[in-house]
Protein backbone atom coordinates (compact mmCIF):
# COMPACT_ATOMS: atom_id res chain seq x y z
CA UNK A 1 0.00 0.00 0.00
CA UNK A 2 0.93 3.60 -0.36
CA UNK A 3 -0.06 5.97 2.42
CA UNK A 4 0.23 9.76 2.61
CA UNK A 5 0.19 11.77 5.83
CA UNK A 6 -0.54 15.48 5.72
CA UNK A 7 1.52 17.42 8.22
CA UNK A 8 1.48 21.12 8.99
CA UNK A 9 4.04 23.37 10.61
CA UNK A 10 2.35 25.61 13.20
CA UNK A 11 3.55 28.36 15.51
CA UNK A 12 4.59 27.03 18.89
CA UNK A 13 1.38 27.27 20.81
CA UNK A 14 1.95 29.95 23.39
CA UNK A 15 3.42 32.80 21.36
CA UNK A 16 1.76 33.97 18.21
CA UNK A 17 1.83 37.30 16.43
CA UNK A 18 -0.38 38.68 13.73
CA UNK A 19 0.10 41.51 11.30
CA UNK A 20 -3.04 43.50 12.10
CA UNK A 21 -3.08 45.17 8.68
CA UNK A 22 -2.85 42.14 6.42
CA UNK A 23 -4.42 39.68 8.82
CA UNK A 24 -1.68 37.18 8.22
CA UNK A 25 0.51 35.62 10.84
CA UNK A 26 4.03 36.80 11.40
CA UNK A 27 5.88 33.55 11.36
CA UNK A 28 9.51 34.44 10.94
CA UNK A 29 10.32 35.58 14.44
CA UNK A 30 8.41 32.78 16.05
CA UNK A 31 9.23 29.32 17.12
CA UNK A 32 7.33 26.73 15.16
CA UNK A 33 6.66 23.05 15.54
CA UNK A 34 4.87 20.11 13.97
CA UNK A 35 1.12 20.48 14.55
CA UNK A 36 0.67 18.41 17.74
CA UNK A 37 -2.51 16.76 16.39
CA UNK A 38 -0.66 15.55 13.28
CA UNK A 39 1.46 13.19 15.36
CA UNK A 40 -1.59 10.98 15.79
CA UNK A 41 -2.06 10.87 12.01
CA UNK A 42 1.59 9.92 11.51
CA UNK A 43 1.45 7.27 14.22
CA UNK A 44 -1.68 5.69 12.77
CA UNK A 45 -0.22 5.62 9.25
CA UNK A 46 2.91 3.93 10.57
CA UNK A 47 0.84 1.41 12.54
CA UNK A 48 -1.07 0.48 9.39
CA UNK A 49 2.24 0.04 7.58
CA UNK A 50 3.62 -2.16 10.35
CA UNK A 51 0.50 -4.30 10.33
CA UNK A 52 0.10 -4.75 6.59
CA UNK A 53 3.73 -4.74 5.48
CA UNK A 54 5.00 -3.82 2.04
CA UNK A 55 3.77 -0.29 2.56
CA UNK A 56 5.29 3.15 2.20
CA UNK A 57 4.30 6.16 4.24
CA UNK A 58 4.97 9.57 2.74
CA UNK A 59 4.71 12.82 4.69
CA UNK A 60 3.49 15.80 2.69
CA UNK A 61 3.38 19.41 3.79
CA UNK A 62 2.76 22.79 2.27
CA UNK A 63 4.46 25.75 3.87
CA UNK A 64 7.42 28.09 3.97
CA UNK A 65 10.90 26.50 3.66
CA UNK A 66 11.28 26.10 7.43
CA UNK A 67 8.25 23.77 7.41
CA UNK A 68 10.77 21.15 6.37
CA UNK A 69 11.37 20.72 10.09
CA UNK A 70 7.94 19.20 10.52
CA UNK A 71 8.78 16.58 7.93
CA UNK A 72 12.07 15.95 9.71
CA UNK A 73 10.03 15.27 12.84
CA UNK A 74 7.70 12.92 10.95
CA UNK A 75 10.40 10.76 9.39
CA UNK A 76 11.91 9.26 12.55
CA UNK A 77 8.39 8.29 13.63
CA UNK A 78 8.35 5.88 10.70
CA UNK A 79 7.60 7.82 7.51
CA UNK A 80 9.69 6.66 4.55
CA UNK A 81 9.85 9.89 2.57
CA UNK A 82 8.75 13.47 2.80
CA UNK A 83 7.96 16.27 0.40
CA UNK A 84 7.44 19.96 1.03
CA UNK A 85 5.34 22.10 -1.29
CA UNK A 86 6.92 25.50 -1.05
CA UNK A 87 6.59 28.46 -3.37
CA UNK A 88 5.93 32.16 -2.96
CA UNK A 89 2.69 31.61 -4.88
CA UNK A 90 1.38 29.31 -2.14
CA UNK A 91 1.44 32.06 0.49
CA UNK A 92 -1.80 33.35 1.99
CA UNK A 93 -3.83 30.25 1.08
CA UNK A 94 -7.18 29.59 2.72
CA UNK A 95 -8.36 26.01 3.23
CA UNK A 96 -9.69 25.61 -0.31
CA UNK A 97 -6.41 26.74 -1.90
CA UNK A 98 -4.33 24.77 0.62
CA UNK A 99 -6.32 21.65 -0.16
CA UNK A 100 -6.07 22.32 -3.88
CA UNK A 101 -2.28 22.50 -3.65
CA UNK A 102 -2.03 19.40 -1.47
CA UNK A 103 -4.33 17.42 -3.74
CA UNK A 104 -2.26 18.40 -6.80
CA UNK A 105 0.87 17.26 -4.95
CA UNK A 106 -0.73 13.95 -4.02
CA UNK A 107 -1.74 13.36 -7.64
CA UNK A 108 1.77 14.15 -8.77
CA UNK A 109 3.35 11.80 -6.21
CA UNK A 110 1.42 8.74 -7.31
CA UNK A 111 -1.59 6.62 -6.46
CA UNK A 112 -2.29 6.48 -2.73
CA UNK A 113 -4.58 3.97 -1.05
CA UNK A 114 -4.95 5.90 2.19
CA UNK A 115 -4.36 9.45 3.31
CA UNK A 116 -4.24 10.54 6.93
CA UNK A 117 -4.70 14.04 8.28
CA UNK A 118 -4.97 15.53 11.74
CA UNK A 119 -8.31 16.63 13.15
CA UNK A 120 -7.23 20.27 12.96
CA UNK A 121 -4.19 22.49 13.03
CA UNK A 122 -3.69 24.41 16.26
CA UNK A 123 -3.32 27.76 14.45
CA UNK A 124 -6.04 28.01 11.77
CA UNK A 125 -8.19 25.49 13.67
CA UNK A 126 -10.69 24.98 10.86
CA UNK A 127 -10.39 21.20 10.43
CA UNK A 128 -11.42 21.78 6.81
CA UNK A 129 -8.27 20.83 4.94
CA UNK A 130 -8.67 17.02 5.24
CA UNK A 131 -12.25 16.85 3.88
CA UNK A 132 -11.42 19.39 1.18
CA UNK A 133 -8.33 17.48 -0.01
CA UNK A 134 -10.35 14.27 -0.23
CA UNK A 135 -13.14 15.96 -2.16
CA UNK A 136 -10.75 17.61 -4.59
CA UNK A 137 -9.20 14.17 -5.19
CA UNK A 138 -12.66 12.67 -5.69
CA UNK A 139 -12.29 10.30 -2.76
CA UNK A 140 -14.39 9.78 0.37
CA UNK A 141 -13.32 11.16 3.75
CA UNK A 142 -14.05 9.85 7.22
CA UNK A 143 -13.68 12.47 9.94
CA UNK A 144 -13.16 12.13 13.71
CA UNK A 145 -11.67 8.65 13.33
CA UNK A 146 -10.85 7.20 16.77
CA UNK A 147 -10.04 3.66 15.66
CA UNK A 148 -9.01 1.86 12.49
CA UNK A 149 -10.59 -1.57 12.90
CA UNK A 150 -9.56 -3.38 9.76
CA UNK A 151 -8.44 -2.93 6.21
CA UNK A 152 -9.25 -5.64 3.68
CA UNK A 153 -10.56 -6.10 0.17
CA UNK A 154 -10.27 -2.43 -0.62
CA UNK A 155 -12.39 -1.40 2.34
CA UNK A 156 -11.47 0.18 5.64
CA UNK A 157 -13.65 -0.09 8.72
CA UNK A 158 -13.29 2.66 11.29
CA UNK A 159 -14.91 4.09 14.42
CA UNK A 160 -15.79 7.76 14.59
CA UNK A 161 -16.10 9.76 17.78
CA UNK A 162 -19.26 11.82 17.42
CA UNK A 163 -21.73 13.56 19.71
CA UNK A 164 -23.12 11.04 22.15
CA UNK A 165 -21.12 7.99 21.12
CA UNK A 166 -19.15 6.02 18.59
CA UNK A 167 -20.20 5.35 15.04
CA UNK A 168 -18.75 2.49 13.02
CA UNK A 169 -18.60 2.88 9.24
CA UNK A 170 -16.92 1.25 6.29
CA UNK A 171 -15.58 3.12 3.32
CA UNK A 172 -14.05 2.17 -0.01
CA UNK A 173 -10.38 2.85 -0.63
CA UNK A 174 -8.77 5.09 -1.62
CA UNK A 175 -9.98 7.26 1.24
CA UNK A 176 -8.83 10.01 3.55
CA UNK A 177 -9.11 9.56 7.30
CA UNK A 178 -8.87 12.53 9.63
CA UNK A 179 -8.02 11.22 13.06
CA UNK A 180 -8.63 12.44 16.61
CA UNK A 181 -6.25 12.37 19.50
CA UNK A 182 -7.76 9.37 21.24
CA UNK A 183 -6.81 7.05 18.34
CA UNK A 184 -3.33 6.20 19.64
CA UNK A 185 -0.31 7.19 21.69
CA UNK A 186 2.34 8.55 19.31
CA UNK A 187 5.78 6.98 19.71
CA UNK A 188 8.79 9.00 20.74
CA UNK A 189 11.40 8.63 18.01
CA UNK A 190 14.82 7.44 19.11
CA UNK A 191 17.92 9.56 18.81
CA UNK A 192 19.52 7.64 15.95
CA UNK A 193 16.33 8.04 13.93
CA UNK A 194 16.35 11.76 14.62
CA UNK A 195 19.95 12.06 13.55
CA UNK A 196 19.39 10.04 10.38
CA UNK A 197 16.42 12.25 9.53
CA UNK A 198 18.60 15.37 9.61
CA UNK A 199 20.50 14.27 6.53
CA UNK A 200 17.54 12.77 4.67
CA UNK A 201 16.82 14.46 1.39
CA UNK A 202 13.42 16.12 1.45
CA UNK A 203 12.50 17.48 -1.98
CA UNK A 204 10.94 20.94 -2.23
CA UNK A 205 8.30 21.14 -4.94
CA UNK A 206 7.06 24.38 -6.48
CA UNK A 207 3.83 25.29 -8.28
CA UNK A 208 5.53 24.40 -11.54
CA UNK A 209 6.68 21.00 -10.26
CA UNK A 210 3.17 19.96 -9.28
CA UNK A 211 1.67 21.60 -12.39
CA UNK A 212 -0.71 24.06 -10.78
CA UNK A 213 -1.42 27.49 -12.17
CA UNK A 214 -0.54 30.35 -9.86
CA UNK A 215 -4.09 31.77 -9.84
CA UNK A 216 -5.53 28.65 -8.19
CA UNK A 217 -3.09 28.57 -5.27
CA UNK A 218 -2.16 30.91 -2.42
CA UNK A 219 -4.06 34.13 -1.82
CA UNK A 220 -5.25 34.45 -5.43
CA UNK A 221 -6.78 30.96 -5.32
CA UNK A 222 -8.55 31.68 -2.02
CA UNK A 223 -12.23 32.65 -1.97
CA UNK A 224 -11.98 33.92 1.63
CA UNK A 225 -10.30 37.09 2.84
CA UNK A 226 -9.35 37.97 6.39
CA UNK A 227 -10.58 41.56 6.67
CA UNK A 228 -9.97 42.29 10.32
CA UNK A 229 -7.94 40.83 13.13
CA UNK A 230 -8.28 41.74 16.76
CA UNK A 231 -7.17 40.45 20.11
CA UNK A 232 -9.96 39.51 22.48
CA UNK A 233 -9.66 40.63 26.08
CA UNK A 234 -9.43 37.42 28.03
CA UNK A 235 -9.20 38.70 31.60
CA UNK A 236 -12.49 39.27 33.37
CA UNK A 237 -11.56 40.97 36.66
CA UNK A 238 -13.98 38.79 38.56
CA UNK A 239 -14.60 38.70 42.26
CA UNK A 240 -12.24 36.25 43.96
CA UNK A 241 -13.26 35.01 47.38
CA UNK A 242 -10.88 33.47 49.90
CA UNK A 243 -12.62 30.75 51.87
CA UNK A 244 -12.76 31.14 55.59
CA UNK A 245 -15.98 29.34 55.96
CA UNK A 246 -17.10 26.86 53.29
CA UNK A 247 -20.81 27.37 53.95
CA UNK A 248 -20.72 31.11 53.41
CA UNK A 249 -18.46 30.83 50.36
CA UNK A 250 -20.91 28.41 48.78
CA UNK A 251 -23.80 30.75 49.65
CA UNK A 252 -22.00 33.58 47.84
CA UNK A 253 -21.43 31.33 44.84
CA UNK A 254 -25.08 30.34 44.68
CA UNK A 255 -26.08 33.98 44.96
CA UNK A 256 -23.77 34.80 42.04
CA UNK A 257 -25.18 31.94 39.97
CA UNK A 258 -28.70 33.20 40.60
CA UNK A 259 -27.76 36.75 39.60
CA UNK A 260 -26.36 35.42 36.33
CA UNK A 261 -29.40 33.28 35.67
CA UNK A 262 -27.57 29.97 35.88
CA UNK A 263 -30.06 28.70 38.45
Amino acid sequence: MKIAVLVKEVPATDKVKMDEKTGTMIRSEMESELNPLDMYAIEEAVRVKEKIGNTHVIAISMGPPQAINSIREAIPMGCDYGYLMSDKYFAGADTLATAYTLSAAIRKLGKFDLIFSGERATDGETGQVGPSVATQLGMPVVTYVSKVEKISDGIVRVCRSVEGGKETVEVELPALLSVVKEINEPRIPNLSGKIASKSKEIPLLTAKDIKVSSDKVGLSGSPTRVVKVFYPKLSRDGKILKVKNVESAVNELIKFMKERGVI
Binding site: T13, V16, M18, G23, M25, T95, L96, A99, T122, D123, E125, T126, G127, Q128, P131, S132, P140, V141, V142, T143, S161, V162, E163, G164, G165, K166, E167, T168, V169, E170, V171, A175, V180, K181, S222, P223, T224, R225, V226, V227, V229, Y231, P232, L234, S235, R236, G238, K239, I240, L241, K242, V243, A249, V250, N251, L253, I254, F256, M257, V262
Partner: protein, 337 residues
Amino acid sequence: MLPNECKGIWTIGEVRNGEINPVSYELLAWGRKLADKLEIELSSIILGNGIKEELTELFHFGADVVYAVDHAKLEHFLPDVHARIYEALVKEYKPEIIIASATTYGRTVMPILAAKLGTGLTADCTELDVDVRERILLQTRPAIGGNVMATIKTPAHRPQMSTVRPRAKKPLTIDNSRNGKIILKSYPPEFYKSKYRWISFEKDESVASPIQESDVIVAGGKGMKDGGNFKMLYDLAKKLNGAVGASRAAVDMGWIPYSHQVGLSGKTLSPRFYMAVGISGAVQHIAGMSSSEVVVAINKDPDAAIFKVSDFGIVGDALEILPVLIKKLSNEVNENG
Protein backbone atom coordinates in the same frame (compact mmCIF):
# COMPACT_ATOMS: atom_id res chain seq x y z
CA MET B 1 -21.69 31.09 -8.81
CA LEU B 2 -21.69 34.86 -8.98
CA PRO B 3 -23.03 37.25 -6.33
CA ASN B 4 -25.86 38.72 -8.41
CA GLU B 5 -27.44 35.37 -9.30
CA CYS B 6 -27.87 34.20 -5.71
CA LYS B 7 -30.52 35.01 -3.13
CA GLY B 8 -31.65 33.80 0.28
CA ILE B 9 -30.14 32.33 3.42
CA TRP B 10 -30.03 28.61 4.07
CA THR B 11 -29.44 26.84 7.34
CA ILE B 12 -28.43 23.18 7.30
CA GLY B 13 -30.69 21.35 9.75
CA GLU B 14 -29.53 18.22 11.52
CA VAL B 15 -31.44 15.04 12.14
CA ARG B 16 -30.23 12.58 14.74
CA ASN B 17 -31.98 9.30 15.48
CA GLY B 18 -34.90 10.39 13.36
CA GLU B 19 -35.45 13.65 15.22
CA ILE B 20 -34.65 17.20 14.29
CA ASN B 21 -31.74 18.20 16.51
CA PRO B 22 -32.05 21.50 18.43
CA VAL B 23 -28.95 22.91 16.67
CA SER B 24 -31.27 23.26 13.66
CA TYR B 25 -33.32 25.80 15.65
CA GLU B 26 -30.22 27.65 16.87
CA LEU B 27 -29.19 28.07 13.24
CA LEU B 28 -32.52 29.72 12.48
CA ALA B 29 -31.80 32.29 15.20
CA TRP B 30 -28.47 33.10 13.52
CA GLY B 31 -30.09 33.24 10.10
CA ARG B 32 -33.20 35.24 11.08
CA LYS B 33 -31.18 38.27 12.12
CA LEU B 34 -29.27 38.29 8.83
CA ALA B 35 -32.33 37.57 6.68
CA ASP B 36 -34.24 40.48 8.27
CA LYS B 37 -31.35 42.85 7.66
CA LEU B 38 -31.04 41.79 4.03
CA GLU B 39 -34.83 41.47 3.62
CA ILE B 40 -34.58 38.01 2.13
CA GLU B 41 -36.03 34.57 2.84
CA LEU B 42 -34.65 32.24 5.49
CA SER B 43 -34.76 28.53 4.71
CA SER B 44 -34.00 25.36 6.58
CA ILE B 45 -32.69 22.34 4.68
CA ILE B 46 -33.48 18.97 6.18
CA LEU B 47 -32.35 15.54 4.96
CA GLY B 48 -33.57 12.46 6.77
CA ASN B 49 -35.83 9.45 6.91
CA GLY B 50 -39.40 9.86 8.16
CA ILE B 51 -39.03 13.53 9.02
CA LYS B 52 -42.12 14.98 7.35
CA GLU B 53 -44.17 15.23 10.54
CA GLU B 54 -41.75 17.51 12.34
CA LEU B 55 -41.09 20.05 9.65
CA THR B 56 -43.58 22.71 10.77
CA GLU B 57 -41.55 23.18 13.98
CA LEU B 58 -38.93 24.85 11.79
CA PHE B 59 -41.41 27.59 10.88
CA HIS B 60 -42.20 28.13 14.56
CA PHE B 61 -38.50 28.78 15.15
CA GLY B 62 -38.06 31.26 12.31
CA ALA B 63 -37.87 29.55 8.90
CA ASP B 64 -39.82 30.96 5.93
CA VAL B 65 -39.17 27.96 3.68
CA VAL B 66 -38.21 24.36 4.38
CA TYR B 67 -36.50 22.25 1.75
CA ALA B 68 -36.78 18.61 2.75
CA VAL B 69 -35.60 15.34 1.30
CA ASP B 70 -37.13 12.29 2.92
CA HIS B 71 -35.63 8.95 1.92
CA ALA B 72 -34.79 5.64 3.59
CA LYS B 73 -31.16 6.01 2.49
CA LEU B 74 -30.91 9.22 4.51
CA GLU B 75 -31.40 7.39 7.79
CA HIS B 76 -27.66 7.58 8.50
CA PHE B 77 -25.02 10.11 7.57
CA LEU B 78 -23.36 9.01 4.34
CA PRO B 79 -21.24 12.07 3.52
CA ASP B 80 -21.14 11.59 -0.25
CA VAL B 81 -24.92 11.22 -0.50
CA HIS B 82 -25.63 14.25 1.69
CA ALA B 83 -23.09 16.42 -0.12
CA ARG B 84 -24.45 15.36 -3.52
CA ILE B 85 -27.99 16.35 -2.55
CA TYR B 86 -26.91 19.69 -1.06
CA GLU B 87 -24.93 20.41 -4.19
CA ALA B 88 -27.94 19.71 -6.41
CA LEU B 89 -30.18 21.87 -4.21
CA VAL B 90 -27.69 24.75 -4.20
CA LYS B 91 -27.28 24.65 -7.97
CA GLU B 92 -31.04 24.66 -8.47
CA TYR B 93 -32.06 27.32 -5.92
CA LYS B 94 -28.85 29.41 -5.61
CA PRO B 95 -28.70 30.66 -2.01
CA GLU B 96 -26.27 33.47 -1.21
CA ILE B 97 -25.45 32.28 2.32
CA ILE B 98 -25.33 28.79 3.85
CA ILE B 99 -24.89 28.32 7.60
CA ALA B 100 -24.37 25.01 9.40
CA SER B 101 -23.53 24.15 12.96
CA ALA B 102 -19.89 23.31 13.78
CA THR B 103 -20.87 19.85 14.99
CA THR B 104 -19.13 16.73 13.70
CA TYR B 105 -21.81 16.67 11.00
CA GLY B 106 -21.43 20.28 9.91
CA ARG B 107 -17.65 20.19 10.10
CA THR B 108 -17.68 17.19 7.77
CA VAL B 109 -20.33 17.96 5.19
CA MET B 110 -19.62 21.69 4.80
CA PRO B 111 -15.97 21.44 3.67
CA ILE B 112 -16.98 18.69 1.23
CA LEU B 113 -19.74 20.88 -0.16
CA ALA B 114 -17.53 24.00 -0.28
CA ALA B 115 -14.87 22.06 -2.21
CA LYS B 116 -17.48 20.79 -4.67
CA LEU B 117 -18.80 24.32 -5.18
CA GLY B 118 -15.34 25.91 -5.20
CA THR B 119 -16.36 28.54 -2.67
CA GLY B 120 -15.11 29.81 0.70
CA LEU B 121 -16.01 28.37 4.09
CA THR B 122 -15.36 30.01 7.44
CA ALA B 123 -15.11 27.69 10.41
CA ASP B 124 -16.63 27.76 13.87
CA CYS B 125 -17.83 31.38 13.90
CA THR B 126 -18.97 33.02 17.12
CA GLU B 127 -20.44 36.05 15.36
CA LEU B 128 -22.10 36.69 12.00
CA ASP B 129 -23.20 40.00 10.55
CA VAL B 130 -23.86 41.43 7.11
CA ASP B 131 -22.70 44.44 5.19
CA VAL B 132 -26.15 45.30 3.84
CA ARG B 133 -24.96 47.55 1.03
CA GLU B 134 -22.40 45.11 -0.34
CA ARG B 135 -24.56 42.10 0.62
CA ILE B 136 -21.51 40.49 2.17
CA LEU B 137 -21.45 38.19 5.16
CA LEU B 138 -19.00 39.19 7.91
CA GLN B 139 -17.87 36.07 9.71
CA THR B 140 -16.00 36.39 12.98
CA ARG B 141 -14.17 33.49 14.56
CA PRO B 142 -11.55 32.82 17.18
CA ALA B 143 -8.34 31.11 16.01
CA ILE B 144 -4.90 30.26 17.30
CA GLY B 145 -6.16 29.00 20.62
CA GLY B 146 -8.50 31.96 21.21
CA ASN B 147 -5.56 34.37 20.99
CA VAL B 148 -6.97 36.21 18.02
CA MET B 149 -10.34 36.93 16.51
CA ALA B 150 -10.54 37.23 12.76
CA THR B 151 -13.33 38.67 10.63
CA ILE B 152 -13.46 36.89 7.30
CA LYS B 153 -15.48 37.46 4.15
CA THR B 154 -15.99 35.76 0.82
CA PRO B 155 -16.23 38.70 -1.56
CA ALA B 156 -16.54 37.22 -5.04
CA HIS B 157 -17.75 33.64 -4.65
CA ARG B 158 -21.23 32.37 -3.85
CA PRO B 159 -22.64 30.91 -1.74
CA GLN B 160 -20.86 32.36 1.29
CA MET B 161 -20.55 29.47 3.72
CA SER B 162 -19.88 29.25 7.43
CA THR B 163 -20.17 26.91 10.36
CA VAL B 164 -21.14 28.46 13.69
CA ARG B 165 -20.29 27.29 17.15
CA PRO B 166 -23.04 25.19 18.73
CA ARG B 167 -24.64 26.80 21.79
CA ALA B 168 -23.24 30.25 21.04
CA LYS B 169 -26.82 31.36 20.34
CA LYS B 170 -30.20 30.36 21.71
CA PRO B 171 -33.15 29.45 19.47
CA LEU B 172 -35.76 32.21 19.06
CA THR B 173 -38.83 32.12 21.26
CA ILE B 174 -41.20 29.65 19.69
CA ASP B 175 -44.07 31.20 17.73
CA ASN B 176 -46.72 28.64 16.85
CA SER B 177 -48.54 31.05 14.59
CA ARG B 178 -45.67 31.27 12.11
CA ASN B 179 -46.04 29.28 8.95
CA GLY B 180 -44.21 28.79 5.69
CA LYS B 181 -43.68 26.82 2.54
CA ILE B 182 -42.42 23.24 2.46
CA ILE B 183 -40.61 22.14 -0.67
CA LEU B 184 -40.25 18.36 -0.71
CA LYS B 185 -37.61 17.25 -3.16
CA SER B 186 -36.84 13.81 -4.49
CA TYR B 187 -33.83 12.59 -6.40
CA PRO B 188 -33.19 9.61 -8.67
CA PRO B 189 -31.65 6.39 -7.28
CA GLU B 190 -28.10 7.18 -8.45
CA PHE B 191 -28.02 10.04 -5.93
CA TYR B 192 -28.11 7.47 -3.16
CA LYS B 193 -25.11 5.43 -4.31
CA SER B 194 -22.44 5.62 -1.65
CA LYS B 195 -18.84 4.65 -1.02
CA TYR B 196 -19.74 4.38 2.65
CA ARG B 197 -21.59 1.71 4.54
CA TRP B 198 -23.02 2.55 7.92
CA ILE B 199 -22.46 -0.28 10.40
CA SER B 200 -23.53 0.72 13.89
CA PHE B 201 -23.80 3.34 16.57
CA GLU B 202 -22.80 2.68 20.12
CA LYS B 203 -24.12 5.15 22.61
CA ASP B 204 -21.59 6.28 25.17
CA GLU B 205 -23.49 7.06 28.36
CA SER B 206 -20.70 9.24 29.62
CA VAL B 207 -21.19 11.54 26.65
CA ALA B 208 -24.98 11.31 26.73
CA SER B 209 -24.89 15.07 26.92
CA PRO B 210 -22.01 15.97 24.58
CA ILE B 211 -20.01 18.85 25.97
CA GLN B 212 -20.13 20.77 22.68
CA GLU B 213 -23.88 20.99 23.03
CA SER B 214 -24.28 21.89 26.67
CA ASP B 215 -25.24 25.28 28.04
CA VAL B 216 -23.55 24.47 31.30
CA ILE B 217 -20.15 22.80 31.78
CA VAL B 218 -18.62 21.71 35.06
CA ALA B 219 -15.00 20.86 34.38
CA GLY B 220 -12.46 19.14 36.60
CA GLY B 221 -8.68 19.12 36.56
CA LYS B 222 -5.80 17.53 38.34
CA GLY B 223 -6.89 19.25 41.53
CA MET B 224 -9.76 16.75 41.74
CA LYS B 225 -7.07 14.39 43.01
CA ASP B 226 -8.74 11.17 41.94
CA GLY B 227 -11.05 9.82 39.24
CA GLY B 228 -13.59 8.79 41.85
CA ASN B 229 -14.05 12.42 42.85
CA PHE B 230 -15.38 13.16 39.38
CA LYS B 231 -18.65 11.66 40.57
CA MET B 232 -19.19 14.95 42.41
CA LEU B 233 -18.82 16.82 39.13
CA TYR B 234 -21.36 14.54 37.48
CA ASP B 235 -23.77 15.12 40.38
CA LEU B 236 -23.26 18.86 40.12
CA ALA B 237 -23.66 18.83 36.33
CA LYS B 238 -26.89 16.92 36.71
CA LYS B 239 -28.26 19.50 39.14
CA LEU B 240 -27.40 22.26 36.68
CA ASN B 241 -28.61 20.39 33.61
CA GLY B 242 -25.10 20.40 32.21
CA ALA B 243 -22.23 18.19 31.19
CA VAL B 244 -18.79 17.40 32.61
CA GLY B 245 -15.62 18.70 31.00
CA ALA B 246 -11.98 18.15 31.94
CA SER B 247 -8.44 19.44 31.58
CA ARG B 248 -5.90 17.42 29.67
CA ALA B 249 -4.15 16.50 32.90
CA ALA B 250 -7.36 14.85 34.15
CA VAL B 251 -7.82 13.03 30.84
CA ASP B 252 -4.18 11.89 30.87
CA MET B 253 -4.67 10.47 34.36
CA GLY B 254 -7.47 8.32 32.93
CA TRP B 255 -10.08 9.93 35.16
CA ILE B 256 -12.42 10.75 32.27
CA PRO B 257 -12.49 9.97 28.52
CA TYR B 258 -10.84 12.25 25.98
CA SER B 259 -14.21 13.25 24.51
CA HIS B 260 -14.60 15.48 27.59
CA GLN B 261 -11.32 17.34 27.16
CA VAL B 262 -11.59 21.12 26.84
CA GLY B 263 -8.81 23.10 25.22
CA LEU B 264 -6.38 23.44 22.39
CA SER B 265 -6.17 19.72 21.72
CA GLY B 266 -9.71 19.02 22.93
CA LYS B 267 -13.02 20.78 22.40
CA THR B 268 -13.48 24.53 22.06
CA LEU B 269 -16.69 25.65 23.75
CA SER B 270 -18.86 28.69 24.32
CA PRO B 271 -21.32 27.60 26.99
CA ARG B 272 -23.46 29.98 29.02
CA PHE B 273 -21.76 28.84 32.23
CA TYR B 274 -18.34 27.22 32.74
CA MET B 275 -17.07 26.10 36.11
CA ALA B 276 -13.40 25.12 36.38
CA VAL B 277 -12.64 23.02 39.44
CA GLY B 278 -9.03 22.23 40.32
CA ILE B 279 -7.83 23.51 36.94
CA SER B 280 -4.80 25.79 36.91
CA GLY B 281 -5.72 27.69 33.74
CA ALA B 282 -2.89 26.84 31.33
CA VAL B 283 -3.11 28.78 28.03
CA GLN B 284 -3.98 25.55 26.25
CA HIS B 285 -6.96 25.04 28.54
CA ILE B 286 -8.13 28.66 28.34
CA ALA B 287 -8.05 28.30 24.54
CA GLY B 288 -11.05 26.01 24.84
CA MET B 289 -13.26 27.98 27.22
CA SER B 290 -12.37 31.69 27.17
CA SER B 291 -15.45 32.62 25.14
CA SER B 292 -17.83 31.16 27.73
CA GLU B 293 -20.44 33.66 28.89
CA VAL B 294 -19.91 33.23 32.64
CA VAL B 295 -16.85 31.58 34.19
CA VAL B 296 -16.47 30.42 37.79
CA ALA B 297 -13.32 28.84 39.23
CA ILE B 298 -12.57 26.88 42.36
CA ASN B 299 -8.87 26.45 43.10
CA LYS B 300 -6.80 26.31 46.25
CA ASP B 301 -4.02 28.43 44.76
CA PRO B 302 -4.90 32.17 44.91
CA ASP B 303 -2.44 32.86 42.07
CA ALA B 304 -3.87 30.27 39.68
CA ALA B 305 -4.20 31.75 36.17
CA ILE B 306 -7.76 30.50 35.89
CA PHE B 307 -8.89 33.27 38.26
CA LYS B 308 -7.82 35.93 35.73
CA VAL B 309 -10.38 34.65 33.25
CA SER B 310 -13.12 34.10 35.85
CA ASP B 311 -16.13 36.22 36.74
CA PHE B 312 -16.26 34.66 40.17
CA GLY B 313 -13.73 32.58 42.04
CA ILE B 314 -13.36 30.72 45.29
CA VAL B 315 -9.91 30.09 46.73
CA GLY B 316 -10.29 26.86 48.62
CA ASP B 317 -10.31 23.08 48.63
CA ALA B 318 -12.64 21.78 45.92
CA LEU B 319 -13.14 18.49 47.73
CA GLU B 320 -14.63 20.39 50.68
CA ILE B 321 -16.58 22.90 48.63
CA LEU B 322 -18.24 20.60 46.10
CA PRO B 323 -20.23 18.44 48.55
CA VAL B 324 -21.62 21.55 50.23
CA LEU B 325 -22.48 23.13 46.91
CA ILE B 326 -24.26 20.01 45.68
CA LYS B 327 -26.23 19.74 48.90
CA LYS B 328 -27.28 23.36 48.88
CA LEU B 329 -28.30 23.16 45.23
CA SER B 330 -30.46 20.11 46.01
CA ASN B 331 -32.25 22.16 48.64
CA GLU B 332 -32.72 25.00 46.17
CA VAL B 333 -34.21 22.68 43.59
CA ASN B 334 -36.54 21.13 46.18
CA GLU B 335 -37.69 24.55 47.34
CA ASN B 336 -38.47 25.63 43.81
CA GLY B 337 -40.57 22.60 43.16
